[in-house]
Symmetry: C2
Subunit: 459 residues, 2 copies
C-alpha cells in the first residue's frame, strides 16, 4: 500500500490507549499481555465473515512509534509528564502476532488475530488493529455476498466515489478483490495491487458532445480496443441503437465491445439490448449493469435470467450498506501468564490465548485454548504466526493467494451459511477446557458480590 494511504503515527489512536500505556510504563507493567481480536455477533443478514485487513495491520505494526512532534503534543495538550513521553519515545512494537490468513471464512467468537506483547505495546495498537481489520473484514464479507449472488458474472468494484475517504476506496478495492471481484475502477488500487482497472464513460461525456451519436463515435475512435458505451443518458433504446450503429460503422471488434445500463428497469433493458445486439451480429458484445446494485439486486437480476455479463457494484458494497460495521472487540485475555476475562453485561469475553480448529468435513469449528492438545484429523488450526518479536515471519500470503484461499473456503461453506437471507452460520463449539476456565474465572472474579454471584461468562 502506498504511504499516501496510510497514517503510521502513534497518535492515530484513541487517547485512552496512550493514557493506559503511560500508566503501565510508570508502574513497570510490561509483562506479556495477550489480546484477542474477534467479532462478538454477526450482523443479522450475515452467515459468515471473510477475514481481511491483516496485511495493512502488519505494515502499521512494523512502523509503529511516536516521533518528536507526537510527544511534544502529548506533553503540551494531553497532560503527560516528561517521564511519560520519554518512556513512550522508546516504544516500538516488539510483540508476536497470530492471525487467520486473509480470505479465511470465520464466524462470531473466532479470533481473527491475537497479539502477545509487553502490555503497553499491545494496548497502544488496539485502535489501529480494530480499525483496519473491522473495516476490511466488513467489506470483504459484503463483497463475498455479491460473488455468491452472481457466481458466473464479472464483478467490478465501482465504489470509489462514495467510500468513506480515499484510503477506504483503496481498502474496498482490495477487500472486494480478495472476496472474488474481478476488477476495479479505482486506478490507484489497480496500480498498487496489480488489479485489472476498468473504465467506461460517464453521462457527462455523452452530454459534452452535440449528440449521443457523436459522443459514441468519438469514444470508439479513441478507445477501439475496449469500448463500453453508456446508453441511458437520454433514451436507452435509442442509446443501444446508436452504440450498434457506431460499432458496425467503425468496425469495432464485437468481443471488445460492451453496453452499460445504469438506470431504470435493468432486466428489461438487458433483454432488449441482448436482442438488438444479437440481431446486429454482435453476439459477442457484453452487457454491463450498474447503478445502486447490491447482492440482493444482483440476485434478483440473475434469478430473472437477465442477460447481464458484468456488474458494476459501487456504494452499497463499498460502505456495506446494510451492515456498515461489525461488533468487533480487542480484549485482554491473558496478562503475565494469568488468563483474564471481563463480565460486562452482554459483552462478556472468554479468557486465554486461543486456537480455532476447523473441520470442513464435519462443518464444525472448535474454539480451544492455545495450550490444548491438537484435536485429531480432520481438524486444522486456523491461526498462524505472522509476526514474532515485531518482525514478520516467512508466512507471506499475497492478495492472489488470499483470494484463492477465500474461494476454496466459499466452495466448502454449507448452503445454509451461504444464504443471502436468513443464513445459518457454521457451528462454533467451545472446548471443555475453555468452558471450564471461563467458569472458574467467572466465579473467582466475583468473590464479594453475594446475590450477583452467578456466572455471566460467554458460554
Amino acid at each position: 500500500m502506498s504511504d499516501l494511504h496510510r497514517a503510521t503515527g502513534g497518535l492515530c489512536t484513541d487517547l485512552y490507549e496512550i493514557r493506559m500505556a503511560a500508566s503501565y510504563l510508570r508502574r513497570g507493567m510490561t509483562a506479556p499481555a495477550t489480546f484477542s481480536l474477534f467479532v462478538r455477533r454477526l450482523p443479522p443478514a450475515r452467515g459468515f465473515l471473510v477475514a481481511a485487513g491483516l496485511e495493512s495491520c502488519l505494515g502499521l505494526l512494523t512502523g509503529f512509534g511516536f516521533d518528536g512532534e507526537d510527544l511534544a503534543f502529548l506533553r503540551r495538550e494531553c497532560g503527560f509528564t516528561a517521564a511519560d513521553t520519554e518512556a513512550l519515545a522508546g516504544v516500538r512494537f516488539t510483540g508476536d502476532v497470530r492471525a487467520v490468513p486473509e480470505g479465511t471464512i470465520v464466524s462470531a467468537d473466532e479470533p481473527l488475530l491475537e497479539v502477545t506483547a509487553p502490555l503497553p505495546e499491545a494496548q497502544l495498537v488496539e485502535t489501529l488493529l480494530l480499525n483496519q481489520i473491522t473495516f476490511a473484514t466488513t467489506i470483504a464479507s459484503k463483497a463475498a455476498r455479491c460473488r455468491l449472488a452472481a457466481p458466473d458474472a464479472t464483478l467490478v468494484d465501482f465504489a470509489a466515489r462514495r467510500t468513506h475517504g480515499l484510503e477506504a476506496a483503496f481498502t474496498v478495492a482490495r477487500s472486494s478483490a480478495l472476496a472474488g471481484f474481478d476488477a476495479t475502477s479505482y486506478v490507484e488500487a489497480a496500480r498498487e495491487l496489480g488489479l485489472t482497472a476498468v473504465g467506461t464513460m460517464a453521462h457527462s461525456y455523452v452530454q459534452a458532445f452535440p449528440s449521443e451519436l457523436e459522443a459514441f463515435s468519438a469514444f470508439a475512435e479513441d478507445f477501439p480496443a475496449q469500448t463500453v458505451f453508456l446508453v441511458d443518458t437520454y433514451d436507452t433504446t435509442d442509446g443501444i441503437s446508436h452504440a450498434i450503429e457506431v460499432a458496425r460503422s467503425g468496425g469495432l471488434p464485437p468481443d471488445r465491445l460492451g453496453l452499460r445500463l445504469d438506470s431504470g428497469d435493468l432486466a428489461t433493458q438487458a433483454h432488449t439490448a441482448r436482442r438488438m445486439l444479437d440481431a446486429a451480429g454482435l453476439g459477442e458484445a457484453r452487457i454491463m449493469a450498474s447503478g445502486g446494485l447490491d447482492e440482493y439486486a444482483v440476485a434478483d437480476l440473475v434469478a430473472s435470467r437477465a442477460p447481464i455479463d458484468l456488474y458494476g457494484i459501487g456504494t452499497r458494497m463499498g460502505v456495506s450498506w446494510d451492515a456498515p460495521s461489525l461488533d468487533s472487540a480487542y480484549k485482554l485475555v491473558a496478562y503475565d501468564g494469568r488468563p483474564v476475562l471481563k463480565l460486562s453485561a452482554g459483552k462478556a469475553t472468554a479468557p486465554g490465548a486461543k486456537q480455532v480448529y476447523r473441520s470442513w468435513e464435519e462443518q464444525v469449528d472448535l474454539l480451544c485454548l492455545d495450550t490444548e492438545q491438537v484435536p485429531p484429523d480432520p481438524f486444522e488450526p486456523l491461526l498462524e504466526t505472522v509476526m514474532t518479536g515485531g518482525r514478520r515471519t516467512a508466512v507471506a500470503r499475497d492478495l492472489k493467494s488470499a483470494r484463492q484461499h477465500f474461494a476454496g473456503g466459499l466452495r466448502r461453506l454449507p448452503a445454509s451459511a451461504r444464504a443471502l437471507s436468513e443464513p445459518e452460520p457454521r457451528q462454533v463449539t467451545w472446548s471443555p477446557a475453555l468452558r471450564a476456565l471461563t467458569r472458574r474465572l467467572t466465579e473467582e472474579s466475583r468473590p464479594t458480590t453475594g446475590p450477583h454471584n452467578h456466572a455471566r461468562g460467554s458460554e
Copy 2:
C-alpha cells in the same frame, strides 16, 4: 490535514475519468464546463444535511496532477498512448469553485459545490470531490442528529476504532466537531484540528490489575487532573463503589472526576451512579455513557431523564449506521456556454450553473440559475466563490467558524425538519427560469424518440 491522511495522486480516481479526459484532450474539448455536486434524495430518516468536506477538496484540487509513475502506469497498463500521457502530464486544476460554506444546512437538489474549469480538469476531479464531500456530509449530518438528541450534554466522538480506515477516523472527528460534538478520542485529529482530546480507560486496564480497586487506585494516582473510571468490567454497582472509595481516599477533586458506563441498562445505572455519588458528597462528579449509542438511544436516555452528562458516541455515528452514504451526484450542467441536462430514468438532472437563495424567515429556498437576478430581501445566496483560476480565494472559514455557522442554521431550522423520525425537509422551490430551461432542453434533446417524447425532467 496531515499529508499522511491524504492521497493526492491523479490516480486516486475512477479509470473512466482519465479515459474521458484523454479523449477530450485529443479533441481539443477544453472549453469551460460546469459540474454541479448535489444530493438527489435525502435518506428516509434525514430532514436536512450538513455540508462538509470542502476544506479537504480545496486541498486536493490545489495539489492535483499526475507524476511520472502515474503516467507510466497509465501507458503500460491502461491503454493510453504517449500523446495521451503527455497531455495528461500538463494537467493541473486551474478552474473556479463555488460552494456553500461548511456547516451550511442543505436539502436535496441544492448544489453543495460547483466547479467551472476546462472540461478535462473538471471531469478528472469528479471522483475526488464526490468521495470527500459525500462522506464528510454524511457524517456531519448524522452527528448533527446526535446533537439534536441531547442539546445540553457533552458529546464525544468515540468512533476511531470502527471507522472505514484512519483517514475516515480523521474525517469523522472533524465532521462531528463541525456538527456540534465537543471533543474526540482520536488524538491525531485533536492535534491537527485543535480539538479537545478525551480519554478514559478500557476494560483491559482494569483486568491488567489484580483487582478493580487496585486498577482505580493506580489510575487516580497517575491521572488526578482528569479521572474517569470505567465501572462495568465486573459488576457495575461494585465498580461505582470502588470508584467512590478511591476518589475519596485519594482526595480527587470531584469536578475532575467521572464515571463511565459502557454496557447494560444505562439509564438505571446512571440513576444508581448519581445517587451513590451524591450520597458520597461527589455531586460535581460527572457521568458518561457509551456503548453502541446513536441519536435514537441518546434521545431515549434524555427522555427518561437519565442523569448522564457526557455521551461517548462511536461506531453508529462514525459509519452513519442507518444511512452510510448519500445519493450524491456530480453532473455536467453546462459546457462551452451551453446548458445541458441528462434524462436517465430516475436520475434526471437540472441544467445550468446555479445559485440557491435562502430565506430563513419564510423557510424556503429558491433554486435558481446563477444568471438570474438576485431575489429581494430576505433571501441570501448560499454559494460563494472559494477558488478562482485554481487558487483559493480570500474566503477562509476555519473549523470554528464552520461550527458556528452550523449552530446558527440549526437554531433556525424548523422543528419539522429537525425531527429525528419522519422529518419534513425544508421546501426547495425551482425558479420559473430554471423550470423553463429544463422543459426546453428536455424537449430539444428528444427529437427522434416519438412515443418516448415526454418530459422526464426533475421538476
